[in-house]
């Protein structure tokens, strides 16, 4: 609570000066004291969306494998590796992003995408390597472990009878998983996705290192952009004047509230789902 108060107090100046326009204008110019947050909000949302598009299918697929198919020992071992993956600090992901993913994107993936899907506005423009797409991919790698371990827990808490009932009605293994077990655990899986989203939105280091740090809005995923967390990391200590500093604080407040709401929802969903699973056998 102290945190909210601190951020609220700290951002009074731009709130008075720009009001709601803070979120609607896209000029960020410290020299002329013009601060519009739109490019950062856009960049944050785009990178987070890209990351979820990649991470959600992969993460849920892996969680289904770990919870439904793999024998307990294999599942536990893999889960151990997934936990280690979740412990890798973000700056290391950034390091690999800069030196491995960026060249890879520039030389192979972006030209290939452009060649095959270049008619879409998403994949236009020069392939710099850095940009929204790269940041999204690095973020995806970072959030997958979260989706996997929570979804796995929730899937494991689905009562056995549910599976047995589906199988005894003649469903194939996949049908029982996809039409019975997964819907049963829907809330918890959604919760894990929210948690992943909150993390992707607030992630700083890895994004700062690969997103390109250009406050611009562009439809192309190849173009460099910026995110809320990245601009705070880059400019807070070098802010010129109170207005600049406090605008950054207000961005921090926006980021905080966004992740706060997402996390709150996610926790409730996860708790509700696992209670449903352990509490009773019918639903």
């Amino acid at each position: 609570m102290l945190l909210v108060f601190d951020l609220w107090q700290g951002s009074s100046l731009p709130r008075h000066k720009f009001g709601f326009n803070f979120f609607r204008t896209s000029v960020w110019d410290p020299i002329f004291d013009q601060f519009g947050a739109l490019p950062f909000i856009y960049g944050t949302l785009v990178t987070a969306t890209v990351s979820l598009v990649i991470a959600v299918p992969l993460g849920i697929g892996a969680a289904i494998f770990l919870a439904e198919l793999a024998p307990a020992r294999v599942s536990d071992t893999l889960e151990f590796f997934i936990d280690l993956l979740a412990a890798v600090p973000s700056v290391i992901y950034g390091l690999l992003g800069v030196f491995i993913v960026v060249p890879l994107m520039r030389q192979y993936i972006q030209p290939a995408l452009k060649h095959s899907l270049g008619f879409l506005p998403l994949f236009k423009g020069p392939a710099y390597g850095i940009g929204f797409l790269t940041a999204g991919i690095v973020l995806a790698i970072m959030v997958i472990p979260y989706i996997i371990s929570i979804s796995r827990e929730v899937l494991l808490s689905v009562p056995r009878d549910q599976r047995e009932a589906a199988l005894s009605l003649g469903a194939t293994r996949w049908e029982s998983t996809w039409k019975v077990v997964v819907p049963f655990a829907r809330g918890g899986i959604l919760g894990s996705i929210f948690l992943a989203l909150a993390r992707a939105l607030g992630e700083t280091m890895a994004v700062t290192m690969v997103v390109g740090n250009t406050p611009a809005i562009s439809a192309s995923l190849f173009s460099p952009g910026y995110s809320i967390a990245a601009v705070i990391a880059n400019e807070l200590t070098e802010a010129i004047g109170d207005l600049h500093y406090q605008s950054l604080i207000e961005l921090g407040l926006v980021l905080f509230l966004l992740t706060f709401i997402l996390n709150g929802l996610a926790r409730l969903l996860i708790v509700a789902t696992s209670q449903r699973g352990s509490g009773m056998g019918h639903a």
Binding site: I64, L85, A87, G94, I148
Partner: protein, 283 residues
């Protein structure tokens, strides 16, 4: 077998196979990360790396001794703040508070855990840096300690709760007071779990970079004291990775390898301690 059934079986096998692929891809990322770090950083980890100061810009060689010591100091401070607060908070939650308070505090801790580290950084910056008008080791330790609290609190509490009630009742029946019960029976019974919780929290903040950018700030020389800016490993990785010098890139890889190695070892040790079971005597 009707064609429809054959189709359903095919879909089942195919989709389940795909989930296996998802799991494999997700886990292999860990080995890719380790492989790249060893490949690029392995040759640069030398005696000099651990004992020398960073070389002046433009010269090759030098090490990160100051960053390693700086990280150690920051972690010490973080532990001084995070461990006692988390530990005693957990004891209160598990042993004294009513269920509503416990739920609220737990929920708040989860949310605090989900706050992006950059926002924690802003908070520490405005509280512990601005009033003193300079960056310091203390403020960095404060930021990291803040992040350690919810992690330590949540997991310690869970382990305390898993101590069977029979133990509490037995101690009480022998005439022990509540505080004596906690100090001599419950905490010793859960000590492995608590140790694991603390180690994991430690590993988590050891890799944090974002809050350090505004607090400990970084330093190319030995820190002049607790009151002065200091370097830290993750922060050095960031600065070196985005620098234009090849030699710095090399050192960033080396630092990444050292940092990740440290974090993975702590994680594995923590889990090994735990897997030997919580030392609760069988009834």
């Amino acid at each position: 077998m009707s064609p429809r059934l054959r189709w359903r079986k095919f879909v089942s096998g195919f989709m389940l196979g795909m989930t296996g692929v998802c799991a494999l891809v997700s886990v292999s990322v860990l080995f890719l990360i380790l492989g790249y770090l060893v490949y690029h950083g392995g040759t640069s980890v030398s005696w000099n790396f651990f004992t020398k100061l960073p070389a002046p810009v433009g010269e090759t060689g030098g090490g990160m001794a100051n960053a390693i010591v700086g990280s150690a100091k920051l972690l010490l401070l973080a532990a001084l703040i995070g461990v006692p607060v988390g530990f005693f908070g957990a004891i209160y939650l598990a042993e004294f508070s009513g269920s509503t308070t416990a739920f609220v505090v737990r929920y708040a801790a989860d949310l605090l855990n989900g706050v992006p580290s950059i926002v924690i950084g802003i908070f520490a910056y405005s509280l512990a840096v601005l009033p003193f008008k300079h960056f310091s080791t203390l403020s960095g330790g404060f930021a990291l300690g803040l992040m350690m609290i919810p992690i330590t609190l949540r997991s310690t509490e869970e382990f305390l709760r898993s101590v069977p009630n029979a133990l509490r009742e037995a101690a009480m029946a022998l005439g022990a007071s509540k505080s004596k019960t906690i100090a001599t029976v419950i905490v010793p019974a859960a000590y492995r779990g608590i140790l694991t919780a603390i180690l994991l929290a430690f590993a988590r903040v050891a890799g944090e970079t974002a809050p350090l950018l505004f607090t400990a700030f970084g330093n190319r020389f030995w820190s002049q004291g607790w009151n002065q800016p200091t370097a830290a490993l993750p922060e050095m990785i960031y600065r070196y990775a985005i620098s234009p010098y090849d030699d710095w890139h090399r050192q960033a890889w080396a630092a990444g390898l050292v940092l990740l190695g440290l974090i993975l070892v702590i994680n594995i040790v923590a889990r090994a301690i735990l897997s030997r079971g919580i030392a609760v005597p069988r009834t």
